[in-house]
Assembly symmetry: C2
Homo-oligomer: 387 residues x 2
């Protein structure tokens, strides 16, 4: 297995992109990444595209072949992967495997979702397909409901408060104000979160990530030739993935995600690192409680200790550990298939020193953490600055 | 890169399986494959599942994690891949890469589709997502229409006749009568095809593969340990994939599929074989014209010569080359995500000498050919008997 590096990145602005189609967004991010790597479509040997539910959102499947066509790739293998909201992270891992194995040298990885062409009700139903449709969605529980169950149990077992959860949203919105790609570039306060519209008690609308349109792309190459393309290759130290039951009711505990814990442990083992070595992390804050679970499951804080630590600023920009500097899913937006790839783009910007007003000083090691559904899939990457 | 072998196979009966859900079918095929390999779920290190449009057919995405859960796998990486009707073949190729690279030893590959829980109109629309939704489906052209265009042009350029196309369906139905897993176990005649209901001129209903429910699975292992699990490992000599434009109008020619030709050439190169070395092939006959195109694009016959050869029996069971011994998509059925994996199951049965009444005498080398949409994806595998 060869070392693999990210040699190019591309991103669209996330948001309600009414004026742009799915293929516009894909092409914009893809072309940016090719330009950033200094290559063109003919140089790409394989493509992996992460998208969750394009069939239901825009009536189009077979997205990888479409993307290859749009970008002028040359009859190369192109594969869509789908693991719900972890589709992007999964695509990155498949791209990593393709390069690490020696099968391909230059591999493109894209993530995209166009969620605002359907009604909110249709979108909620489509997203419900990420959980157990027979045992959960058909019984009336949507995604905010599933995470509300986790939040309520976490409050019961560890004394976590709604104010502490709100602090996650406040932090991530503040970070998003410094990111030109973010959907919500405005600060919010704890009181605004607490007084916002209830969605699934105890979660309010400002505890929830939004419906978004957007795309992200990265170009991968073997590390040993990466400097032909860029002065700032970012090395992938670990790429790991794990699963859990789809249905929440079948799990031993719902105050943590086992898939995150397993993928995280594997990533630390593969890289030889520990949580304290991470300088900057993008974690999957689809709901505020999800960031709290992630901080605990990934070993950054003891079980039950993350909510207090976050609310006291320990994961703010340039604090002990900078978390969701992009604004996270909450502030930057969550076009589901794009999110896992966007996380890698953000960490690459941080490790290259290109994160402008949200730059983490001296960032050397970063992590991405991408969750599918209510935790049936988790994908973790650890990235390292090389320049 | 290590040599990879198929050490276990599983298959459900294809058809209108009203009494079984998507997860029932997945579990049946998966458990059969585990049993055939003599292992259990805890032995499996990774899973790839091919499914095209479960979101639209049954409201469920995130199928790979669901399948891993159903089969008792142990928090392993599980990934859905989707390349329209080539989803199954693509899943097999990803499984192959995972084992060949050395990342995993025992990998499960599944394919499934449950297509009969929606109306035919809904299914047709969902399948349209495999083509170019904006430039084709939204303009009113469905899949039979796209292949009818190819058929009409092939007739114009090469004198191919509707009787010759009908002969493909007649052959494949005859083969299907000998396959207990097949959807249509009845013979048909040329006249019955020609007099069947027109769908998209010149294609009649009996030129078209059906809507089907079904699942298939294979278990992969490195060849050097395969005999621990089975006396009859089947070696994967080549696993290749290629793309083309999604939209038919953008192609230089529509009397062949360039993706098939490219994937085929790569497969011959990887294996050091030529078309004449293949004893048995499962090719993608979603419509009768598609089998004719495949025979030419894969180099079995010169351009324009396949239709006559097929109608004269050259690809009948135990003729010069046995094609679609399972009954193909036309006779065995076409649960789209399952098809590419089912093709590998059929070839494995043939190379093991377990194909019962449809056994190809002395079969040593087999090929599978799986197409996505109207040819924007093609996946080719070449398999070899080792015992």
């Amino acid at each position: 297995m060869r070392d693999v590096a990210i040699i190019g990145i591309g991103l669209t602005r996330f948001g309600e992109r009414w004026e742009h189609s799915l293929r516009d967004l894909m092409a914009e991010a893809g072309l940016s990444a090719l330009t950033d790597a200094g290559i063109n479509g003919k140089d790409v040997e394989a493509l992996y595209a992460g998208i969750m539910a394009s069939g239901r959102f825009v009536g189009q499947e077979h997205i990888a072949a479409l993307l290859a066509d749009q970008l002028g790739f040359d009859n190369i293998p192109a594969t869509r992967v789908e693991n719900a909201c972890a589709s992007g992270g999964t695509a990155l891992r498949q791209g990593y495997i393709a390069v690490a194995s020696g099968i391909h040298d230059i591999v493109a990885v894209g993530g995209v979702e166009k969620m605002t062409d359907v009604t909110t009700s249709e979108a909620t139903t489509a997203l419900g397909g990420a959980g157990d449709q027979e045992w959960e969605l058909n019984q009336g529980i949507t995604f905010p409901g599933l995470y509300a169950l986790m939040a309520r149990r976490h409050m019961h077992e560890y004394g976590t408060t709604v104010e502490q959860m709100a602090a996650v949203a406040v932090k991530n919105h503040l970070n998003a104000t410094k990111n030109k790609y973010a959907q919500f570039r405005k600060e919010i306060t704890i009181d605004e979160v607490l007084n916002s519209k209830p969605v699934a008690d105890p979660l309010k609308i400002l505890d929830c990530s939004p419906l978004s349109d957007g795309a992200a792309a990265v170009i991968l190459a073997p590390l040993d030739i990466a400097r032909k393309y860029t002065d700032t290759p970012v090395k992938i130290l670990a790429s790991t993935q794990a699963t859990d039951t789809l249905c929440l009711a079948e799990r031993g505990s719902i105050t943590g995600l086992k898939a995150t814990a397993v993928a995280g442990e594997k990533a630390y083992k593969a890289s030889g690192l520990k949580p304290g070595d991470i300088d900057v992390a993008e974690v999957h804050d689809c709901f505020t409680i999800a960031e709290i679970l992630a901080m605990e499951d990934l070993g950054f804080f003891k079980k039950g200790a993350a909510a207090k630590a976050i609310s006291e600023g320990e994961t703010a920009l340039n604090a002990r550990l900078s978390v969701n500097t992009s604004g996270g899913l909450k502030g930057c937006g969550h076009p589901v298939g794009a999110t896992g790839v966007k996380q890698a783009v953000e960490i690459t910007m941080q490790l290259r020193g290109e994160a402008e007003g949200r730059q983490v000083s001296g960032a050397e090691i970063g992590m991405t953490h991408n969750v599918g559904g209510s935790g049936a899939t988790a994908v973790v990457h650890i990235l390292e600055r090389t320049n």
